[in-house]
Symmetry: C2
Subunit: 231 residues, 2 copies
DNA sequence: CGATTCCTTGACTGACCTCAAGTGCCGTGG
DNA sequence: CCACGGCACTTGAGGTCAGTCAAGGAATCG
């Protein structure tokens, strides 16, 4: 059998990039590829942290909720991102697939031990965690102080930067396909589905975006959108 | 001159704990002790990340704001906590002293280089960053989905756990002194000062807390407070 | 004893939520 | 080809929680 890691799709993007081929195959022996289908939850909030890993393909969300079911999305993870809570006993967030996805998981204890012996890997993980923290804190400003319009504008611009885009129908515009529906957007922005819908309608009526499909967004006036972010 | 680090008040609590005395004095040569007075800002949001360090004493806040001045507090740092953004070129948050404080700072580039050669230090930093991330994400739920009452209850319980407490006047109650005022609480919870004031009044009228002084809180009914957190 | 600063309280407003109905899209099956 | 149902999104009407604006206390300090 060929070493599954050496020809991994995210070999050079995930934290594994820090490892030599030799070390990589050592780590690989603890790993396991898993397919997750849309809607399926890989890790549950509050459970013991038994699993960590890399996203190979697909889009997943991190989320947490109140006792009465109000849900807040904490982050979106894409291919090559790291998931799970290393060096800790419990997981504080659920990880759920928003599209069909593929992940590469390790028992946490194995990963922890391996990471401690491979400073390069820990360093990659540290850099990634620092970026996640920056992002989470930027989102705190959004959730704490921004208006509904500002939240939507911030969200759309982030999506424009992170998702694959194509040219839109109108000259100079860009277009992309959201990997999730209105309810997901609402959970991410701390709004309700109706408010999200109304805000997008508002941006459409203002000529700032167009919505050629239910989940597709065409940014007609990026500058106006940037001015609407509030930051 | 005595090595300033070896008898540092946070020697065994800050990330420096990972270092041998020898390594510590090596790092110490790059460090500089600084006094910061209440209200003074050590790092500004958007500036180049030139400085990182440890808090020796005092309470500081991390914050960010919108173009029109709405401010969101992103975190509170206490003695032995780490501040600044290593391994990155810009700082995304301001660091401001809420009480008179003392910090020990390093030029970021020096610290980065030193950390890369000392995996134990990087590991400590990683664990700390992971905890900060957990905390930031817990706060996202608060900011995105919790009511004003729930936010105040969550806040007071966190303070009860992190601040030095004493026995209250009433039997079985605990008491502590907040290191900051109502406006600071409002900025932290994504509320206004008036709402904070009204909520605390509400808790007092419900017999859940007492307020023996402007900034002191006595928790009379911890259980009721916990039931009010929403999580 | 002003003057300042911080906290509290009150009356009103408004942004977003809630509840409810309506619309468009798409796949299925007659 | 069209009828149907299901689902996600949109739209509307009304309510509510927290924000805004304004005034009034209480503590602190020269």
């Amino acid at each position: 059998m060929v070493n599954a890691c050496s020809d991994c799709a995210v070999r050079d993007l995930a934290i594994c990039h820090a490892l030599t081929d030799e070390k990589l195959s050592e780590l690989g022996r603890h790993g396991r590829r898993q397919k997750i289908s849309r809607g399926q939850t890989l890790l549950w909030e509050g459970d013991d942290s038994l699993l960590v890993g890399n996203v190979i393909d697909g889009v997943l969300k991190l989320s947490t909720s109140t006792w009465d079911g109000r849900e807040q999305t904490l982050g979106i993870v894409y291919s090559s991102d790291f998931i799970g809570r290393p060096f800790g006993t419990t997981s504080n967030q659920s990880v759920t697939a928003m599209t069909d996805a593929q992940v590469c998981t390790f028992p946490r204890s194995d990963f922890d031990a391996f990471a401690r012996e491979n400073p390069g890997l820990e360093h990659k993980l540290l850099e990634r965690t620092l970026m996640d923290l920056d992002h989470a804190r930027a989102w705190m400003l959004l959730l704490g102080k921004k208006s509904a319009t500002e939240r939507i504008a911030t969200f759309l611009l982030e999506m424009a930067d992170r998702l694959p885009t194509s040219e839109g129908e109108h000259p100079g515009s860009i277009q992309f396909e959201l990997p999730f529906g209105r309810q997901d957007i609402a959970d991410l922005l701390g709004l309700t589905i109706e408010t999200v819908s109304r805000q997008i309608t508002g941006l459409r009526e203002a000529g700032i975006v167009a919505t050629p499909g239910k989940r597709s967004i065409e940014v007609l006036d990026r500058e106006a959108l940037e001015e609407s972010t509030g930051h």
